[in-house]
């Protein structure tokens, strides 16, 4: 029943947007009781105007020489890149499109792992206690339109930084999962035949890549989820985000918990209410438990 915690916070006002990290961090840290071995949090921002992409890179050690990477990038790609490093993570902002970025990383820096790519998403995740990870990356200082996070207690695959959630696929999409899938390998075989590459043996990655594939095929996320009820077997509470929305769904048996608190200012999702108890006016919020196989979707407020 314990085993992983999920959290999500979507701002409906500028004031909450400014305090997104400050409010989401205690949610994540509180759920450390459900998932003490790894944690991650993805922040989504209003997409910038123009061709600006944001990439988060993960380095295998905490003293990685990021300056060499940005210099090499500018030399080989011939484009400027802004690189903001944060220990073993770096946020690279550049006009280079995701396909080209992935190719360059593969050839020039195979040791680096691309955690997220998009115009909106900025993802941090690592092995370690959620409290420690929140401190290392100063989650409390972050802003954004919405955030989705996870605290992991591994049951079906290794404890490693790459196995931590959120998982991403494609651009501006991430997924966190409480539960376990029983048919990840058959889903994976199906997707691999379509040329989709996997980075881990984690069951959640299969779900994440399945949904992203459906969206590339033209489904909305909601339609992709409707299809997933027949394709994905197992227990899940999935919380997902794109640059435009946050989406929550529980499988038919619904034995992995979730609770939602909604006010005029925000939508908050967590595995347990106690991680929402610090939110402003939560005592007067509309608090409810999502029912099985119903897709809950909340749009990001437009500027």
């Amino acid at each position: 029943m314990r085993v992983c915690g999920i959290v999500g916070l979507l701002a409906k006002s500028e004031a909450i947007s400014e305090r997104l990290g400050e409010l989401a961090t205690p949610m994540l840290v509180c759920m450390g009781t459900r998932g003490p071995d790894s944690a991650g949090l993805a922040f989504f921002h209003q997409p910038p105007t123009g061709a600006v992409w944001r990439y988060v890179l993960y380095a295998p050690d905490r003293h990685y020489d990021w300056t060499a990477v940005s210099a090499q990038f500018e030399q080989e790609i011939g484009q400027s890149a802004q690189l903001d490093e944060c220990e073993n993570h770096a946020v690279v902002t550049s006009a280079i499109a995701p396909g080209e970025m992935r190719e360059w990383l593969k050839s020039a820096h195979a040791e680096l792992h691309l955690l997220s790519a998009g115009r909106s998403i900025e993802l941090y995740k690592d092995q370690g206690h959620p409290g420690e990870i929140s401190e290392r990356f100063a989650f409390a200082t972050m802003t954004g339109t919405h955030a989705v996070g996870h605290t992991r207690m591994a049951t079906e695959s290794a404890v490693s930084p790459a196995h931590a959630h959120p998982f991403t696929a494609g651009e501006d999409f991430c997924l966190v999962h409480n539960g376990s899938l029983s048919n990840p390998y058959s889903v994976r075989r199906k997707l691999e035949r379509l040329g989709i590459a996997f980075e881990t043996d984690n069951d959640t990655e299969a779900g994440c890549r399945y949904l992203e594939w459906r969206m590339r095929e033209g489904d909305t996320l909601e339609a992709a989820l409707e299809n997933s009820f027949a394709e994905l077997d197992g227990f899940f509470t999935f919380l997902m985000a794109t640059d435009r929305k946050m989406v929550l769904v529980r499988d038919a048996f619904a034995c992995k918990p979730a609770v939602v608190a909604e006010t005029d200012e925000y939508v908050a999702v967590s595995s347990e209410f106690r991680s929402l108890a610090h939110l402003p006016d939560v005592k007067s919020a509309h608090v409810y438990e999502p029912v099985p196989e119903r897709i809950y979707s909340w749009d990001v407020q437009s500027n």
């Binding site: 619904a254 347990e272 099985p292």
Partner: protein
């Protein structure tokens, strides 16, 4: 008239609050108010004396578990397994309850004024549960004795693998589980529903309820059934 105590869970731990409650003698304190429950788990679990406990806000999992004799009221929602294994006394939730409310309760009364989620009254062993709203899927799963009254609707697979517990539902039943059977309401059933509604303080006409009980076909192994019941 005994005194009233207040325990503030933003100042003391749930363990300290529960140790205070466990140390009480019958009637020593009339009422204990618990403030700032903030979704914390196991509040007022394991009580064993006559005392009223008022929890002021939303609470977490296992609230008033194993309750004996005490009257515990939650002025908010609760998480999983409220009043699990309740032995006697009364537990009342003014809001909604998450999964497995009243699981394996042996006695006493659990009232949920709002909705209860899935598996309400799972493995009930003699306790009584009245839900003012609706219940989720697999409620009263393998319930052995006792009564579940649902004033709203019941979700899928109600009373699956039911033993000798009785279920009364006022609203729609999405589907019955394996070996659960809808039966005629008798005068005794009407009296029983009326008694439980009165005890719960919920005002409906007992004649509006349906009765669900075990068909008892799972009691004996039937190889010919080929797992189809």
């Amino acid at each position: 008239m005994g005194r009233t105590e207040q325990l503030d869970l933003s100042k003391i731990s749930v363990r300290e609050a529960n140790q205070f409650l466990h140390g009480l003698q019958n009637g020593e304190v009339a009422c204990v108010e618990i403030l700032q429950p903030d979704g914390l788990h196991s509040i007022a679990a394991g009580l064993d004396c006559e005392v009223a406990v008022e929890i002021r806000g939303h609470a977490g999992y296992f609230i008033a578990g194993m309750n004996k004799r005490a009257t515990v009221t939650v002025h908010g929602n609760v998480g999983w397994s409220v009043a699990e294994n309740i032995m006697s006394g009364e537990v009342r939730v003014k809001g909604h309850a998450s999964e497995s409310a009243g699981a394996s309760g042996h006695g006493g009364l659990l009232v949920i004024e709002g909705d209860a989620s899935s598996r309400c009254g799972i493995s009930l062993k003699g306790g009584e549960i009245v839900v003012g709203g609706s219940v989720g899927h697999f409620s009263a799963f393998m319930a052995q004795a006792g009564t579940l009254v649902v004033c709203g609707d019941a979700g899928p697979n109600l009373g699956d693998s039911l033993y000798e517990a009785t279920i009364y539902v006022r609203g729609a039943i999405h589907s019955l589980g394996a070996d659960a059977l809808e039966e005629e309401m008798t005068a005794d059933d009407h009296a029983e529903v009326a008694r439980l509604l009165a005890a719960a303080g919920i005002d409906y006409d007992a004649r509006e309820f349906k009765r669900v009980a075990s068909a008892r076909s799972l009691y004996h192994w039937n190889a010919d059934a080929d797992q189809e019941y």
